[in-house]
Subunit: 320 residues, 2 copies
């Protein structure tokens, strides 16, 4: 929180996110190792002619994770893509750098929730020499199939702990933004039990937007949130990965994954941006469920184990 | 082709499409009956307070069709929905009627292709008393997993036969529009082997757009195309439904169904319009595959049976 203000620095953000990517992949592989599986991440480094670097990491058909995708990208170019300047017309034509880390897990065991996280940083340079403009975005959210109250409370308490040092109201605000964003309007239903979501972050508190002080504090905030992802998720995986389940639970998980695919393909800005901007389709769609099951006009029986999700967990609640 | 010009008449279009819906459902149920399955269409009639009528018909878990959805809708209202007037601002605020029939099949046997068809009619009234404006849209297209040349040629020849009486160039034009529309830009790949696609049809040949003569001819054309769907598809189902297959073929079918879901959720205008306009989600998404399988960065082996689809069939070709 203290110390000297740092000039906006995409290399520092990239270094942090790539190191965290390695750490997260390691943690997931440790679960596979412990389960006796020799499944590991498929790790590549893809470079383009403009100096962009993609590091897709995808684990498939593990004993704990049916799929986990943990992808980082570094992009730069002579002018920001249209999708990035739609709401910021004053930035059209500026050269830019963009750094991101996106991850998703599709666990095997239906009692282990799916988790999703993303952190991103954009910086737009001004050839005229004035200070660059930049913004952060990100967050993490949880999508259980057979939720346990203590898991969801732990997830949200950890989210709150990651925010609190930076402002008493931040958790509340970004928790609400998460509930608003991960919402299927055509079903009037949340995607999961939420977490944190923020975008266009150019300052915190009283800092002057886009100042060096604002960058230092925002970067510290993004470090804090991103470093709280594993402490939020790993204990839940540990607790639930051995829960016995049957075909019924697996079918329900595959059914709910269909909803997840609906959201990602039809509503998620990141997925749509990726597909329309010509990103590597296999990387963008690594977030898709490995297997899914559709049912026509099906609802769980009243008071069944499956009915609890929609009734008790998906309507946005105060979890802390 | 001859006879007196008919005033634009949504009731006549509706009558045609609903009768065709019954005929198509009957034909699909006949396959189930012949296979010894007692699976039938779930048939409902849903009415809304404005006089709209939806007739969703969905068959699930048959022996021939894993899912078939054949849905008709009749809608009317005091003003056209925004999606319908985005390209037609002069129609904003006009009262309207809309009639449509949409269908999709997800067969069990991977050697039977998926088929999709849609026909629709919009009419916008002018309270000032001038003649109503109207347009037709529609077509049908085929998505094989293990294609056979003779099936694709039969499909396209039937499509051509449905168009030829109405203009020598129509098949060629609407076949090309179909190739353009059912295209996954992020993969640079066609969804299937195409067929016919037309939209904003207000006249054919030299008829004056939106005239009574134009309506008569366009409606006759839509009747012809829609009545050629069963003759195009049924012989293919009949020929392939008994082809022996194994787990490998089934996996490839589920994998390709994932592509189908990608297109429908991320690109199809009808699906997006339905979801955003607040249509019944279960009806809109009845087109989604009942089961699907995702694979990360997988491609069929060179010269395998699976490689033929992408290599020989998906690149748009002249099939007649």
């Amino acid at each position: 929180m203290s110390g000297e203000a740092q000039q906006p620095d995409s290399a520092a953000v990239r270094e942090h996110l790539e190191a965290l990517q390695d750490q997260i992949c390691q943690a997931f592989e440790d679960f596979e190792r412990a389960a006796g599986s020799d499944t590991r991440f498929d790790a590549r480094t893809l470079e383009n002619e403009r100096g962009g670097v993609g590091r897709p990491r995808v684990l498939s058909d593990g004993l704990v994770f049916e799929r986990a995708a943990v992808n980082s990208t570094y992009a730069r170019g002579p002018s920001l893509p249209p999708a990035a300047t739609a709401d910021r017309p004053q930035l059209a034509g500026r050269s830019f750098e963009a750094v991101s880390l996106s991850l998703i897990t599709h666990p095997v065991n239906p009692y282990v929730p799916t988790s999703h996280a993303n952190w991103r940083f954009f910086i737009a340079y001004d050839e005229g020499g004035s200070a660059p403009l930049w913004w952060f975005g990100g967050g993490f959210d949880l999508t259980p199939y057979y939720p346990e109250e203590e898991d969801v409370v732990h997830w949200h308490r950890t989210a709150k702990a990651s925010c609190d040092p930076f402002g008493a109201d931040l958790y509340r605000r970004y928790k609400e933004e998460c509930d608003e964003y991960f919402h299927l309007p055509h079903r009037g239903e949340a995607r999961g039990v939420g977490g944190l979501f923020f975008d266009d972050l150019t300052h915190l508190g009283d800092d002057e937007p886009n100042s060096a002080a604002a960058f230092s504090r925002c970067f510290a905030f993004v470090r804090s949130v991103s470093e709280h992802y594993l402490p939020a998720y790993l204990p839940i995986v540990e607790r639930r990965k051995g829960t016995p389940y049957g075909e019924r639970h697996r079918d329900f998980q595959l059914y709910r994954r269909g909803r997840y695919a609906e959201f990602n393909l039809a509503f998620d800005r990141g997925t749509r941006y990726g597909l329309q901007a010509g990103a590597r389709a296999e990387s963008v769609l690594a977030s898709m469920p490995p297997r899914a099951l559709g049912r026509y006009d099906w609802s769980p029986e009243t008071d069944s184990e499956e009915a609890r999700l929609e009734r008790d967990f998906l309507p946005p609640r105060d979890w802390v």
